[in-house]
């Protein structure tokens, strides 16, 4: 990366090393190892799919594929934010050890989960190609944008919650309580057109809605609700900005509270 200056290169080296540390350590003692990356959403898909296929009438696409794509995105988001929220407390020995870019603690989790997400995504896209042929492949070109968007939202919330959780440990309990609700407030197991208009407007306020919708627009060619996309983009920017701001203000003093 020749366009980076020395400090930036060091920052990236550190970030990559911390991410590697996270990736390497996660499946160290697991027999299935990396397979869990794919196995997890697959099992979830089978369970949820088995139940919800009786309730949700979704047209045009295979419900299991529809569900799997949503779960990939949702799991990345919820797992990362959930894991990151108490991260500065869990990694207190690192904080007390040396001065280093504190954001690496949280962002390394984001990047390592992103790495796992990308593996699953590539496998899933391979499946789609194999079973359905080229189809909407041109729209796949938008996927990198969606991924950056999703990563920004996840990073922003991770920074925000983890910074606040250092002082107010209630945040962690709150996140744990909210995530299951948030799951049903996001179009993971259902599509928006099944909802009445007023409820759709409420669900559209959720920044995850636009991401999930755009993701499925690209993969299945499902209709896109522009309102959701614009609200979600705006929401992502606001959350990312807030996360950065709160982190910048709080991070020099993390050590005082842990």
């Amino acid at each position: 990366m020749f366009w980076l200056n020395k400090e930036q290169k060091k920052w990236w080296d550190f970030m990559i090393a911390m991410t590697e540390r996270e990736i390497k350590s996660r499946y160290k003692m697991a027999v299935f190892g990396f397979l869990w990356v794919f196995l997890n959403p697959l099992l979830q898909m089978l369970i949820l799919g088995f139940i919800f296929q009786f309730f949700v009438a979704i047209k045009t696409v295979n419900y299991f594929e529809f569900l799997f794509s949503g779960l990939l995105v949702w799991n990345f988001f919820s797992y990362t934010v959930g894991k990151n929220t108490p991260m500065y407390i869990n990694e207190r020995t690192l904080i007390q050890k040396a001065k280093f870019p504190r954001e690496a603690v949280v962002l390394s989790i984001v990047f390592s989960d992103l790495f796992h997400f990308l593996i699953s995504l590539v496998l899933f896209l391979g499946w789609m190609l194999l079973v359905h042929g080229l189809g909407t492949w041109l729209r796949w070109l938008i996927l990198p944008v969606v991924i950056i968007w999703l990563t920004a939202l996840t990073s922003g919330l991770s920074l925000l919650f983890s910074s606040l959780d250092v002082k107010w440990r209630d945040i962690n309990f709150g996140v744990q309580a909210i995530m299951p609700l948030w799951f049903y407030a996001s179009p993971v197991v259902y599509t928006l057109d099944l909802l009445p208009k007023w409820m759709r407007n409420v669900i559209n306020l959720n920044p995850m809605t636009g991401i999930l919708e755009t993701f499925r627009w690209a993969i299945f060619g499902m209709p896109l609700d522009w309102q959701a996309v614009i609200i979600s983009l705006g929401g992502t920017l606001i959350i990312f900005g807030m996360g950065l701001l709160v982190f910048k203000k709080e991070s020099p003093f993390f050590d005082d509270w842990i």
Binding site: D13, A17, K24, A98
Partner: protein
Amino acid sequence: MRKKTKEIAIKMKGVVKNYRLCHEKATLVENILGKSKKEEFEALKGIDLEIKKGEKVGIIGANGSGKTTLLKIISGITAMNKGTIKTNGKLVSLIDLSAGFHPELTGEENIYVNALLVGMEKEEIKSKIKEIIEYADIGKFIDAPLYTYSSGMRLRLGFAVAIESDPDIIILDEEVSAGDEDFQRKSMKKIDEFVKKGKTMLVVSHWLDFLKKHCQRIIWLDEGKIVADGGMEILKKYKLHERVIKDEK
């Protein structure tokens, strides 16, 4: 002019550090009624300090006098509330040597992360990793996960990474005198070498004999203030003072 500023290793001016005192976590009801009071504790009350390159400084003081807080601010682990600080050169803390290791990762993987943590660069680590492994002397355990290590091995690994990172300023406490005799001898030898190279050292310790042997300047902290700053004669005063306090009790 430029040379003069270069000779300074650490310069602090009017450094104040406050901690929020948490007696007992306020209950929710107390919080809502606004009954929980926020008590501030001033750990450092305006520290002015200048340490020149190559100085060996010992910091003494009773428990709770602000020694640890001072070192945390110098090493950048926490931030101060008021004042300024400038440090010149790479600073490495040898306090809590075995902290920051990941129990599931191997020794070698841990060396890599820990070395980046103390500020080494990627290429530097690659060129030094052999020396670090050799110095830590953990044999075939190097590719075993860290939770299989004894506490002595962790200590050696932490020390090896810190000292091989070639710092300009080191901060240490009596922990370097932990571990077995062999390690003690080895670590002392390294520290002596380090001192001979004319580098800066800050020692915080209750072990006055160690300070006597390795330092030329003593700073005495009491209740967040520097009460004495000078040569080795302060050690004697401090000993006397401690004895008086003990007698009073």
